[in-house]
Amino acid sequence: MITFTPRDKVSNSWTLIGPILSIILTVIFGLLIFTFLGFDPAETLYQIFISPFSRIDRVSDIFVKACPLIIVGIGLMFCFRANVWNIGAEGQFIMGTLLAGSFALLFPNVETKLLLLCMFFVGFLGGALWAFIPAILKTKLNVNEILVSLMLVYVAMLFIDFIVRGPLRDPMSFGFPLSKPYSDGALINKISFPGIGYLGQLHYGILFIILLIPLAWVFNNKTLAGFQINVLGSAPKAARFAGFSRERITMSVLLLSGGLAGVAGVIEVSANIGQLQPEVSFGYGFTAIIVAFLGRLSPVGILFAGIIIATVKLGADNAQMTMGIPKVVTGLFEGILLFFLLTGETLQKYKIKWSWNK
């Protein structure tokens, strides 16, 4: 039998050594697997860990990739802190994008960025509406929010597929399932640095994160609502004793996280794609769950977790492109990294005892 007992206190040095050890172990296991599969192990590790940092434009791409992960992750943080398990951010991301995109396509010739601003609101609304379904079922009928939110992801995927193949398909798209391109007013521009020009794909959407993280921190630590979420998550009975409404908090965190997922979708598509297509999210909604937990449900933690995950994802893409390593193999490597990071974190907090019974 294996038993986990909480440690009396977490040692400071281990909070530092833990993650480093995890990465070293990941590298060792990665080396073994790549060697075994016949890839040059040194080259592969270079592609995954070093190449994303090898040029300044690549570094900026890390932030571009991390952007949706962080925004969705922050939204999920509110839910998970309240012990509300929203697993369907992917669906909320898609529905926010779809609603905001449809709204943008109503105004094909608008140049002003006011349109973009409106799209933020519409996108928030779209994501929140999709999250409203599990929220109302949870608060009124006590239906498990994990199941409902997860299943609605697949509904959302099929729905956007239907929309871009049907009602919103661009007649000029030569049969491809694509909408018309957004007008200029609906696009997020790349940042042009004086004297340097563009840095990779770095766009103004990043500003939203710079705004969001301190706001989220203040919300968690300095507001009544943040306190209520905290109490509900750690002691539901105490929340009732304090007179906090479980229903209202559950509803709020689901709407908030759905809305933020929608906004993340708006930023992603307006900055990088510029039109609606069947695939607008590349698993951001699911990966963000990992980001939220890896970041220990704190805004700053989520920032770093988002950057780490984005780096490895980009590195894995590089390895696929330059060395022809199959996607499943890089996926396996990402899995190993997560496994060691989470194991390391668990071992910091718990002692493991093994005992063999006959």
């Binding site: 300095k222 009544l224 306190f227 750690s234 009975k237 105490a238 004793f241 304090a242 007179g243």
Partner: protein
């Protein structure tokens, strides 16, 4: 002392040390338990009793110290090892799955493999042998607390223990059940099984135990013969000072003005394991203490929730405060109207263990800081606002903290209860409602808390005390009622009702009120 010397020592623990951070829980504790002996462990809350038994049962590891069983040195690294060495334990809070049957619950905890049919037979044998009557196929949620305890005892007996540890076993039982339990424990002891008995009830210890070890601030300060001592001596040794006896206000002029009134209150049960409240009528006047006795699980939780406002009534005129209907008011509104409730569970209900004391103060104080604030001001209302209040509560109520503004889980049970009480009473309530206020609290803190209740009534507050502790009910109450299966008995004046009567009412026997026997 000499009479027991010829007995063989079963368990010998010497120089046991255990620290939690900077807090010394056990310091050089020695304890010797003879074969067939009932050995009581006595001490205030935070004296280190729980730590010591957890070490003996393998839940905690001591930093230093040796444990010998039958003169053989052993390391008890887990409860498994403890059980293999013949140590069994019955916890204060039972660890049973309510939705499973008795036999299934026992099967889960069993180390050896056994066929279910054989297990049922074995349980029946054991329960007949020890008069611990229980049906192995009954679902645990249908059992009374006393019966659940029997399940826990049988679970230990399955392993043929040499030493049975019992943590405050009588706190949940009726007088009749306690008597039964003592018979069983004495029989067990005379059959050769040693018993380590943890309790804060001094009379019990003198009645039951052979020896007492008294712990104070993590040290074992005395081991004495229980037969040749007095409750007074035990209490003084344990607390280390003369215990203040309760000053009951004798000639109180009971006011006739009704503070809180419940009229025909019905509430259906919200879950399968809940109890429905049936047509409850109750009044409590200013300046009086109404005691509500009854065995746990007879609707106390539900009554408490409906009084506090955690659950609201079905309509407004089922509860009145100063003759104004408040049935639909929620807990925050009732708090503002002057009704304070102190629930039974100190952690996770009245407080959040991993939050700081000021945050726990903020938990019930936050509406105060919302007064005259804009929307943004209310939104930015946060626990720092209650730093001063929480310091005041700590100071006024002698809450002993290991550091300024600690987490709630750093306080011992008694100190946490003092904080929770202080937090409520600082609001200067009109009506104070307590559920099990001295549950698991040491005698020193319990006396303080009981005196507080008396003082409250003296100050003209209306007090409702829901408790399973009959002694406490009789000590404090002016009027008494009994809750049984969601029904509240007639309210009787405390000097018209006897302990036997209450015992009968607790068991659901309503004709007892004709019994004129006066309480001694």
């Amino acid at each position: 002392m000499g009479s027991k010397k010829e007995l063989k020592i079963l368990l010998e623990a010497t120089k046991i040390n255990k620290k939690f951070g900077n807090f010394v829980a056990n310091k050089d504790i020695d304890i010797f338990i003879a074969k067939g002996e009932i050995h009581a462990l006595l001490g205030e809350n935070g004296a280190g009793k729980s730590t010591l038994v957890k070490i003996l049962y393998g839940i905690l590891k001591p930093e230093t110290g040796t444990i010998k069983i039958n003169n053989e040195k052993i390391t008890i690294s887990s409860p498994n090892v403890a059980r293999k060495n013949g140590i069994g334990m019955v916890f204060q809070h039972f660890s049973l799955f309510p939705a499973l049957t008795v036999a299934e619950n026992i099967l889960i905890a069993l180390d050896q493999k056994i066929k279910f049919k054989d297990l049922v037979l074995r349980i029946k044998e054991l329960s007949a042998e020890w008069e611990l009557f229980i049906d192995p196929l009954k679902i645990v949620s249908e059992l009374s607390v006393g019966e659940q305890q029997r399940v826990e005892i049988i679970r230990c007996l399955m392993q043929n223990p040499k030493l049975l540890i019992m943590d405050e076993p009588t706190s949940v039982l009726t007088p009749q059940e306690i008597e039964n339990l003592f018979k069983i424990l004495k029989r067990l002891a005379s059959s050769g099984c040693s018993i380590l008995y943890i309790s804060h009830k001094l009379e019990e210890i003198i009645e039951l135990a052979d020896k007492v070890t008294i712990l104070k601030s993590g040290k074992s300060i005395a081991t004495i013969d229980a037969q040749n001592t007095t409750t007074k001596y035990l209490a003084e040794t344990m607390v280390g000072k003369e215990i203040t006896t309760l000053k009951k206000v004798q000639s109180k002029n009971l006011s006739k003005s009704i503070a809180l009134e419940l009229k025909n209150l019905n509430k259906s049960n919200s879950s399968d394991f809940g109890i429905a409240l049936k047509n409850i009528n109750l009044t409590v006047n200013y300046g009086e203490i109404l005691g509500i006795a009854g065995i746990a699980g007879n609707g106390q939780t539900e009554l408490m929730e409906i009084l506090s406002g955690e659950t609201v009534c079905d309509n407004e005129d089922q509860i009145f405060l100063d003759e104004i209907p408040i049935g639909l008011k929620n807990i925050t509104e009732r708090r503002q109207l002057g009704i304070e409730t102190i629930p039974e569970e100190r952690t996770l209900h009245a407080s959040v263990p991993n939050l700081k004391i000021n945050e726990n103060t903020f938990l019930t104080y936050f509406p105060k800081y919302n007064v005259n604030k804009s929307f943004i001001g209310k939104f930015l209302n946060n626990p720092e606002n209650s730093l001063n209040e929480s310091e005041q509560i700590i100071k006024d109520n002698d809450v002993r903290c290991p550091e300024p503004n600690p987490m709630a889980n750093q306080l011992s049970g008694g100190n946490l209860q003092k904080f929770i009480l202080g937090r409520s009473l600082a609001n200067n309530p009109k009506v104070a409602i307590f559920s099990q206020p001295t549950w698991g609290v040491d005698i020193g803190a319990a006396t303080t808390i009981r005196q507080k209740l008396l003082n409250l009534s003296k100050m003209g507050k209306a007090v409702i005390l829901i408790s399973q502790d009959l002694e406490e009910i009789f000590q404090l109450s002016d009027k008494i009622a009994v809750l049984n299966n969601g029904n509240l008995s007639e309210i009787l004046s405390a000097n018209e009702i006897s302990a036997t009567n209450i015992g009968l009412l607790m068991g659901g026997n309503s004709k007892s009120k004709n019994d004129q026997e006066k309480r001694k």
